[in-house]
């Protein structure tokens, strides 16, 4: 069984918000951060990140500004807005509830029924 898991649809946005909430990041940095915090278990197609980033900026949950990266290259940095923080809280709660429910459901034994 592969050690990497396929992303569920809709979870990319949540991951991005979480990654950015830990500190401003540029696009490539977001990728690295997600890899790091998920223990390299989640696979994200690199190009697919950008449409999601632009969508989040348009929704007003992220804001972007140009800066200089640790490699001394020009890069665009993303950080959460107030709206973004609220969204992250709500979606994280929702995800946790779902995950708990799914976990409980899948852990059920025949004798419990």
């Amino acid at each position: 069984m592969s050690s990497q898991a396929q992303l569920l649809p809709g979870t990319l946005d949540l991951l991005i918000l979480k990654a950015v909430s830990l500190g401003p990041l540029h696009g490539y940095g977001v990728l690295l951060r997600i890899g790091q915090i998920s223990g390299q278990a989640l696979l994200i197609e690199q190009g697919a990140l950008y449409p999601a980033l632009f969508r989040l900026v348009r929704q007003g949950v992220l804001k972007a500004s140009w800066g200089v990266s640790e490699n001394n290259r020009r890069a665009k940095f993303y950080e959460l807005t107030a709206l973004g923080r609220k969204r992250l809280r709500e979606e994280a709660d929702g995800w946790n509830r779902l995950a708990a429910a799914m976990g409980a459901a899948l852990a059920a034994h025949p004798e419990e029924v």
Binding site: H26, G27, Y28, G29, E45, Q46, G47, A48, Y50, P51, A52, F54, R55, R58, Q59, G60, S69, N71, R73, R74, A75, K76
Partner: protein, 888 residues
Amino acid sequence: MRLLAYLRSLTARLFRRSKLEDEMNEELRSHIQHRADDLERCGLSRGEAERCARIEFGGEVRFKEESREALGGRFIDTLVQDARYSLRVLRKSPGFTITAVVTLALAIGANAVVFGVLNGLILRPLNVPQEQDLYMIERERGDGMLSYPDYLDVRDRNRSFDGLAAYTLDLAGLDTGDNPVRAWVYEVSGNYFDVLRIQPHLGRLIHASDEHGAGSAPYIVLTYAYWHTHFQDDRRVVGRVVQLNKHPFTIIGVAPPGFYGTLMFFSPDFFVPLVNHGQVSGTTVLGSDFLNKRGTRWVFMSLGHLKAGVAPGRAIADLNAIGSYLEKTYPKDDGHVNFGLASPGFYGNRLGPPLRAFVTGLMLLAALILLAACANLGSLFAARAADRSREVALRLALGAGRTRILRSLLTEALLISLMGGGFGLWGSVALLRGLSVWQPFARFPLNIPVDADANVYGAALVLAVVSGILFGLVPVRQVLRVNPYQIVKAGAAGVTGRRVTARDLLLVAQIAICAVLVTSSMVAVRGLVRSLHSNFGFEPRNAMLMEIDLNMAGYGGDALPAMQQRIIHSMELIPGVESVGLIDETPLFGGGSTALVYTDQTIDLGPAHAVARSQIYSVSPEYFHAAGTILLAGRTFSWHDDENSPRVAVVNREFARKIFGSAAKAMGRYYKRGNGTRLQVVGIVEDGKYAALTEDPRPAMFVPFLQAPSTESSLVVRSKRDPQQLAWAMRNQLLALDAALPAYLSTWDKELDLALFPSRMATLSLGVLGAMGAMLAITGIFAMAAYSVSKRLKEFGIRMALGARRQEILQAALGRACKLLALGSAAGLILGILASQVLASIVYTATPRDPLVLAAVVVAMVLLGLAATWIPAHRALSLDPLALLREE
């Protein structure tokens, strides 16, 4: 909040498009650099690292595309991009583009023209306020003529109309100080303008208070158009006194622009009061008083608005009550009538329903043509989509979304349809404008108010967009099914359907319709050509007509026949003139006058006892010779057949047959007319055409003009001289006799235009429809053949490589199209022959049983098939099997 952000982003996208694009590119570049930095740190060379980073990144074009989408403001962006792309693609295949645009231009143009006519004639025919409850009274179906006393009774006794107006048409000579001119006049009742709720443009209009008995209101109200062309918009014209038929009339006002009277197609020059009918029509000079004759029905139309709340049914009952009162009170003059109501614009039920049916039919036909054109273009598009399946597959593989590809195909279709619609509209506007100012008859003021307005422009735009979407959607399924992997690997699938599809049936139907139209137009053309050389009962070649109304110069009583004789003699003096005749109204112009005929034994001369209704003409002794009418038996008239001698008549063969049994029995016998006159038949002439070219033989009688005086006189001058010189000489002779007598001159051939007009129009419209049908059939066959060739290109390549002959390839490529063509043509030819029976009622001597017609139809259809299959056949034959097999 979100909306605001979206809008901001949208405007930003629109106004700072390139800046955002640059930023996005830079960001993606920065990403790849960062990744490459990491890879480099793992030990790869810089170049290798960058290559790897780019590969890892994935389909850059697709992600950019998605990113742009995510950024908002995509719609207009994509549209511009698609339009640019489509233009480029269309420019690459000019043959396809031109075919499609021309097809659509014709189809949409036809629709716009027909809609313009519908709009002008049916949707808003008369330009008067509250037209919808304006009705005319019909005595019987298609006839609204009343006598003046009857009109007055109906006007005063009815309780249904909000005022009842009346008018009649006439021709009069107007003298404003220069040469007198002939002018068309509406004689209107005093309340006419008030009933119609028309306000003057200048001065005042005629009112009921102007009427104080016969000849009491010598006033003229000019139409705006006549004021504009003949009085140069001179505002001082009000109050001016002019001579009308030698009687002084005062111009009191000008009608508003856009008011053309209350009869479609026919716009008068000015209006005069009906009470002055005697002076305008010349009945005064003949000593008869039409205003008081209850038995003579000459008031052309009575019309008015129904009172609020009065239904047409109740109004008819009201009118019929008046009708039975008239029948009881005046049994000698008024028989039983069944009144009816009709809309006045097209002279009630005589013109209205057939015209409405005609235009509606045309509209349906035009819509069908457009639909069929869309279907054909759809096939053509499908063929193109099949050709381009490799391109589509590549675009899909490179990351374009299916919706995006569909959108660009649709943009292409819309571009074509808008171009086609534009050209079509441009042509139709020009055509409608031409139609509006069209004057096919020199002596009638024709008025067809069909200029294009906003409605027409709107309709054309809607049609263009709808048809673009219609045919643009045809290849959608095809594109949705495309599997890029399969196609790039294996080339377009060579599936060939063998079953009969709806598209095949449509094509056969189109070809059949095209063949029907081609057949009927050929039949019509042949009929028209033949009818130009048929026997009219007179010889129109080498004859000049001069139409005058002696009333216009005030001749009456004894002065009238004397003047007519002087004119005839002076014309005879012109060198080169063979003979000169005079007739009150030439045959085949309008309906002519008719009279009831009774046998000699009949005592009670009521309408019910008549044996026939006959045409009646009043002619001079030399008329038959000058007109070329052949005398079969007996004699023509002499100058001694005057008012002092016994009443005589020359009748045609049909008259003799119908009244007396045969020509031989008729000679020397007597018959009676409704007024009690007893006439002796002294001669018999050949039958002719009197009211219409397509009529069945009808009885006609000719009486000496000295015994039946008429101020209207048409001179028939037979001469082989050049018509222009002859006309000039005739005009000079007339001027020498009386300079104040306006005349209308033309060759008799040209005068027949009026009689030939319906058949000419039928032939023309059939020709146009035939051309449309041919265009449809061509695009249909072309699309089908092109489609089948491009679908089977690979198969043909293999066959050729294996040694198939060109003939076999052609058969495989075009066999199906040719079979459909043959099938459709045969069906169409048969249907066309059947349909031509109907044509015979419009076009004189039209017959489908004509080998020339049949041959011409077959040749036309073969040519059409050749034209349509030429390009696909060429393509199939010029295949290079090697190149093709390598490519596929």
